[in-house]
């Protein structure tokens, strides 16, 4: 079967995933007074972040389509397992 590779992030269920830079990461933790351990997790093997090449400890910014707020921003820290 010859077919362009399936892109996970184009599926209607998957929101946009972005990797945060070091500076943005520090700002985020400062803004919410949290440590990265306290954030929700995303597995490093998660198919939605395969192309971001995220390492454990990185923070992924997720822009969800929300029925109540329009766009809702969510953060997950890449976990080890």
């Amino acid at each position: 079967m010859k077919k362009p590779k399936f892109k996970v992030d184009k599926h209607t269920l998957t929101p946009k995933h972005l990797k945060l830079g070091e500076k943005e990461k520090a700002q985020l933790l400062e803004r919410y007074h949290v440590t990265s351990k306290e954030l929700p997790k995303i597995q490093k093997t998660d198919s939605a972040i395969k192309e971001l090449e995220a390492k454990p400890g990185d923070i992924v910014k997720i822009i969800r389509k929300s029925p109540t707020a329009g766009d809702a921003v969510f953060y997950r820290v890449v976990s080890d397992v």
């Binding site: 996970v8 939605a48 997720i62 109540t68 766009d71 997950r76």
Partner: protein, 386 residues
């Protein structure tokens, strides 16, 4: 004017800003617009959940109460075919428990242009047959073992094969790919299998006979029923049985809209965020089909909770509850003795930070006005004088 609105982007969600943009009168003065936006901010601030509000409890009540009115039955699929759909309370429980094996796995397969319009019904039916899994036993009329020379003969139903566009050659290919160590021979109306090794016993032949019944000769594994349905302007294929990973590889399928009701397949193929969205969609689907009404916010909270750890976890003692840090909180859910004994063995400490623990020992719970605590810095002098 646009700059004034964009100044508020940090303080208001995009949807509200959009609403403001759409509803202001043309040529509104800057001061008035500022006043309006300030009022909106104030209103937005007041409508938010107060810190310390027990949102989880409210979500539980809001989903639980309409849950009492839900039906307990599974229903047949509207009209055509004998397809089962789990609805009502059993489905809600299935989703919230995060069950891996569903009672009725289903897929909704959206199609690409020439198929979706349904102009060529023949093509559509052909595609549906391509997807449906056919096992060897579905096209065979008889399986026999010849005891003398230990061969297995499979008689094929030619009419059935023609119906689903299969040839004996294709069947032979499929069998040889999935079964090692056997020589295959095409015997016109039947296939004859003979073991290559000499030491094959009757017992082995019997086992193989049972095994080849389940061999997949055509279609996608796990899909045992297909049903093309017209939905609004396009045709969609609904299946019983689910295999998202393989279906998405098909050329005719619109991979970006096709979904399944199996949350774990979604998590595996599309990631945890897609699974969260799928949980919300599935719960809403059940609630709406029952004519009930629950605010999405409650469902979003539940879905978020199930997905915090990076994988879908059910609201059971093995899932979300096992992640709690407090021993007493875990013990208060189910199997208390097990949790307390295990905690005692490893010397766990409970900091009494959360609600249930404090209810147990009759203390003010950290919710609402019980949330803020007081910290007193004892003056150094007083301590010394003692």
């Amino acid at each position: 004017m646009a700059d004034i609105i964009s100044e508020y982007e940090d303080r208001l969600p995009p949807k509200i800003i959009e609403d403001v943009r759409n509803s202001i009168a043309k040529g509104i003065s800057e001061t008035k617009l500022k006043k309006l936006l300030e009022a909106t901010c104030e209103e937005y601030k007041n409508s938010r959940v107060a810190p310390g509000e027990s949102v989880g409890l409210i979500a539980a009540e809001s989903i639980g109460e309409p849950g009492t009115q839900m039906t307990l039955n599974t229903f047949h699929f509207a009209g055509v075919a004998e397809m089962n759909v789990t609805l009502g309370l059993p489905r809600i429980i299935e989703i919230l428990d995060g069950r891996k094996e569903l009672d009725n796995p289903m897929m909704e397969i959206y199609l690409k242009k020439p198929f979706a319009t349904g102009k060529k019904i023949e093509d559509l039916r052909h595609l549906a047959l391509q997807i449906k899994e056919t096992k060897l036993k579905d096209i065979a009329t008889e399986f026999t073992i010849n005891i003398a020379d230990l061969t297995i003969e499979v008689k094929l139903d030619k009419d059935k094969m023609k119906e689903i566009d299969l040839t004996t050659g294709k069947v032979l290919d499929a069998i040889s790919k999935q079964l090692k160590g056997y020589n295959l021979r095409d015997n016109k109306d039947s296939i004859v299998l003979k073991a290559r090794s000499k030491e094959d016993s009757f017992n082995d032949s019997y086992k193989t006979k049972e095994k080849i019944k389940e061999i997949n000769v055509k279609g996608i594994k796990g899909i045992f029923q297909v049903l093309p349905v017209k939905r609004e302007e396009e045709f969609v294929i609904i299946t019983a049985g689910s295999n998202l990973a393989d279906i998405l590889q098909l050329e005719e399928v619109d991979a970006y809209r096709t979904t399944t009701n199996n949350l774990f397949e979604i998590e595996h193929v599309l990631g945890i965020e897609a699974a969260r969205q799928a949980i919300i969609n599935e719960i809403l689907k059940v609630i709406e089909s029952q004519g009930l009404n629950v605010d999405v916010r409650h469902i979003m909270l539940v879905a978020d909770t199930m997905c915090v750890s990076g994988t879908v976890k059910g609201i059971t003692r093995y899932g979300v509850v096992s992640e709690k840090s407090s021993v007493l909180a875990r013990a208060s859910f189910e199997t208390p003795i097990k949790h307390i004994i295990n905690a005692a063995l490893v010397g766990e400490v409970d900091n009494l930070d959360s609600v249930v623990e404090n209810v147990m020992i009759n203390q003010a719970i950290p919710i609402g006005t019980g949330l803020p605590g007081l910290t007193v810095k004892a003056p150094q002098k007083a301590a010394k004088e003692k």
